[in-house]
Subunit: 588 residues, 2 copies
């Protein structure tokens, strides 16, 4: 070893001992005849001292070092005169007696500090330097700890981690597959799994009973917002269970993770289980942020047809939220909110507001259409009090209007400081619809995936009104983020065929794509179900990060590029030839 | 839950309790008015009893069940009259009061027993049924336990598991890469990593200090023998270490794994560290099986030029092994051995043998060329005794002859029962050559990989005689199998450039392929090193398996096909078009 101590472990009790440290030069300061160096490694920072008077040549050597040089030092632990309360090692320093340069460094392109001067692109290109920053490294340490605890917990519950293959078959349903040409089978391709869904179901058919895997998944999507072409799932499946068994076990896991990894107590009470339709009604979202209230109040009975405001009179939905104490909002602030809901991403036509005055009187943007009496009824329905601001959205499509109001609720929650990153509110959203209509494809699509079991009592509806069928599906939601989701699966090949039919699969295509699974179901498939968590997202939540990128060692950018490795890139001509492939670039 | 007990946990103490079990029908036997069913789940087998007299209709239902039907039963635990000592649950049975059919099964295409009648191909196609067999399932359980212990151990030593990307850049050095066309970057490709070698080195540059990952790797090789296109590595890297630190730590890990997972005590003594040249000299192998001796004895001084046998007189190597007590081998047996070494895979020209008689006299196949005096000198050099058989191989190329003799040694070890699967002999092979000459490529190739550090004292040889340079590289060998290997890495960009030059890289190509790494080395790379284990191989050794396939849930066959999923396969035309690709099949 190049060291016998790390830069994070020395304390007052070590004073007087000889130590050897190795690490990076974080900072050099010269003060009079003294040179101070902050030496950094993964474990912390320790101050080194060189005294020109005591050892001039050694001090001279130290003065030649630069930022990020790698050095090894031998010296004696000394109590610091000026202690640094911000550092765990801040009580001591090393009086260096030997210095060995292990590697020099060019000046890094940005400062290796939590508050760095490096832009996003630069930090991605030099990700190996970005990772040296304590705040980035801490995310990877958290991720490691998180995964260790997931494994410890699931192992203790009898789950086996079983690796499923990465080179599988293409199943072009849902998102696009990444494909891999096979040299040994010319003209044929593997696909990278979007999730091990069918494979874990086969493991249940195989009698493995309780399976999990922390596993890479792949989706060739256009990368909006916070997506990565490769991401990591905590994938779980159990046999001989009903929905409640799964919810209880994974609730326990969530509590365990919060306690051991995040030091946060979620309490003893079971998580709220909110039916999807209720979540949509009360929050306009299938992943409501429950850190705060501000629930939707439906105002159809109060405002539709009770005045001359045509917009409301024609609406299929009128709903409001009450922003406590915001009656003082200026015209400018209200215009901002209106512009927000009118952005194309949100798509509302407008926003109606109403201030509740000190005496309870209501001043609204639609004053001229309603009597004060109606407006006060509205105020009462909203349970708004003096000083509150009521924000109302309406529209011809109830679902769309609710989603618009949801965005407004989240924004107001943010503004009112109700979305504290150090507070966590978890719940289950249950009873999802089986299908949702796709305008693009002009057919019903699986809301979760085609292997989700319908609620037994809804099975007859498959023939008559499939859009009404509810599924035994559930999502775990934390702070407005879907951290995981799953379902009880179909374990019957006849029912599975029927679902494929509802989804518009021809029998031939169903057989070609999922024949292996339907065939397996003929040999004694047990009842089973499971769920999958998005690891990146969950770790980001724990770390209080805005982007999943920051908890991934080497993430890709929005064009799916790794700018550090410069991947993807063109191949050498021989490689394509061996694969029996030719690129046909557009316009060539 | 469909059960409150598993099929593996009931014992005499449970007699009299009501239980609910669920599982698969393993076997049905009718005896008089009784029907006995062996109910199986992952945890074991429990006998169910149906009594026609007590409940005729229930018994009738039971009689309608078939093999692999999935059922749920309620009943009372009863002490068995005929106990089965072979089953942990063999003292009890369930007197069934309720039976619920959960799923029927077609007759499986082979019997779900350890001794099955299913051939390899059939079992691969129905792998989900094959996995139900206890002997296959046990391998996956072992694999899970193995990985849990690896993680526990490395976590306790301060290692962080860090995920590296699966979509990386192609580096066509060594084996072929699998590639992945990028839709978002037309004409460009990702590659799947052959190992995370360069990425883990970047993590060391990033100051992560101790890294590991249990990770899928990919090699598009023609699949000889026991290879899989995707396989799993335990990948490790450490900073600020010397070779000895790594060997000590991973020796400790090996001992831990053997003790906790295999229940095998490797003892306190450190592993043997055998220089590569000595391993080749004494065993003709860089992964010698040390469960037995039968070491090579060089016979050049005794047999070259001391008689008229031209083959020996022209040989560059003559070496023998002594098979204790095999002097009685018949002519036929000896011919068999000769034919064995003459097979094309081994390639020896012939085999010379010598029997040591009761009086110490030597009877050899080359009697007529040597005096008895010479032959007895040879016998003494071999330390052969009465009743022993000496087997000698010679050739014009010492390395080749040694490898041939190695194969013979392993065969004789097998025949003499010296290669017990329940005995384990571990060692380190160290001091590997940096390079080996490739006849095919007509250049020096990296014996480990191009990032391996030469021994510091050998660095000057890089300019004068690179073939003589030894590396700070090491392999962990168990029972003649290389379970892992690694090296101290180069952390200096100048030395790294020099090695690329010796390997015949132009500066431009080195920059294109590995520029990101050499660039990273300019910003304070710490001294570092590590190793990687082949997980599949190690688990196979623990399980006593002949093939790594048996410890992989869904392996591929020798053509790289998953016959269960029928992957790879052709794509839908639109998929290729989106990727700007065309297949060009040979002859079309």
């Amino acid at each position: 070893m190049y060291r016998n101590k790390t830069c994070g472990e020395l304390r007052l009790k070590d004073v007087g001992t000889q130590v050897v440290l190795a690490g990076w030069v974080q900072r050099i300061r010269k003060m009079g005849g003294m040179t101070f160096i902050d030496l950094r490694d993964r474990y912390g920072i320790t101050q080194l001292v060189f005294n020109e008077e005591a050892n001039a040549s050694l001090c001279q050597e130290a003065n030649k070092l630069g930022r990020e040089y790698v050095i090894q030092v031998t010296g004696e632990v000394n109590e610091r005169y000026n202690k640094n309360a911000n550092l765990p090692t801040g009580d001591v320093e090393i009086i260096v007696s030997e210095l060995r340069l292990l590697n020099a460094s060019q000046t890094p392109p940005f400062t290796i500090e939590n508050n760095t001067d490096g832009g996003d692109d630069l930090r991605m290109k030099y990700r190996y330097l970005d990772l040296r920053r304590e705040c980035v490294r801490a995310n990877l340490e958290l991720r490691h700890k998180f995964c260790m605890e997931v494994r410890r917990f699931l192992d203790s519950k009898g789950f086996l981690e079983i690796e499923t293959p990465v080179l599988v078959g293409s199943t072009p349903e849902g998102a696009r597959d990444f494909v891999v040409p096979s040299r040994m089978n010319p003209g044929q391709f593997y696909a990278l799994p979007q999730s091990p869904q069918t494979l874990k179901q086969l493991l249940m058919v195989a009698g493995m009973d309780r399976y999990f895997q922390i596993v890479k998944c792949f989706r060739d999507e256009d990368l909006r917002a916070d997506r990565q072409p490769e991401f990591t799932q905590i994938d779980c499946e159990m046999s001989f269970v009903e929905q409640n068994d799964i919810l209880c076990l994974f609730e326990e896991m969530a509590k365990h993770l919060f306690k051991t990894v995040r030091g946060y107590d979620l309490g003893e009470a079971p998580f709220l289980r909110l039916p999807w339709s209720e979540a949509m009604r009360r929050f306009g979202s299938d992943k409501p942020d429950m850190r705060f209230g501000m629930e939707f109040v439906e105002l159809m009975d109060v405002l539709k047809g009770t005045g001359s405001f045509a917009v409301f009179n024609e609406a299929e939905y009128i709903g409001g939220i009450c922003a406590k104490g915001c009656a003082h909002y200026s015209r400018k602030q209200l215009d901002e909110l209106t512009n927000f809901v009118k952005t194309p991403q949100i798509g509302a036509k407008g926003l109606v507001y109403a201030r509740v005055g000190e005496g309870g009187e209501v001043k609204s943007s639609v004053d001229k259409f309603y009597t004060q009496d109606v407006l006060e009824k509205m105020r009462d329905q909203m349970q708004a009090e003096a000083g509150d601001l009521i924000l109302i959205i309406s529209g011809p499509d109830a679902m769309k209007a609710r989603k618009q109001l949801c965005e407004l609720r989240l924004l107001m929650g943010e503004r009112l400081g109700l979305r504290d990153k150090n507070k966590f509110a978890l719940l289950w959203v249950v009873d999802f619809p089986m299908f949702e209509w796709s305008d693009e494809e002009q057919r019903l699509m699986a809301m979760h995936h085609p292997f989700t079991a319908p609620k037994p009592e809804d099975v007859p509806l498959l023939d008559t009104d499939p859009a009404k069928v509810c599924a035994n599906a559930y999502d775990m939601v934390c702070n407005g983020v879907e951290v995981g989701g799953g379902s009880i699966r179909i374990h019957d090949s006849v029912l599975q065929s029927k679902i494929f039919k509802v989804l518009g699969f021809t029998e031939e295509r169903a057989q070609k794509q999922f024949g292996f699974l339907m065939n397996a179901f003929k040999y004694g498939a047990p009842p089973h179900g499971g769920l999958a968590y998005g690891l990146d997202r969950w770790v980001s939540l724990f770390a209080g990060l805005d982007s999943i990128r920051d908890c991934i060692a080497f993430p890709k950018n929005n064009s799916g590029r790794d700018v550090m490795l410069d991947a993807p890139s063109t191949l050498e001509p021989g490689q394509l030839e061996e694969l029996c492939l030719k690129t046909v670039l557009p316009g060539k």
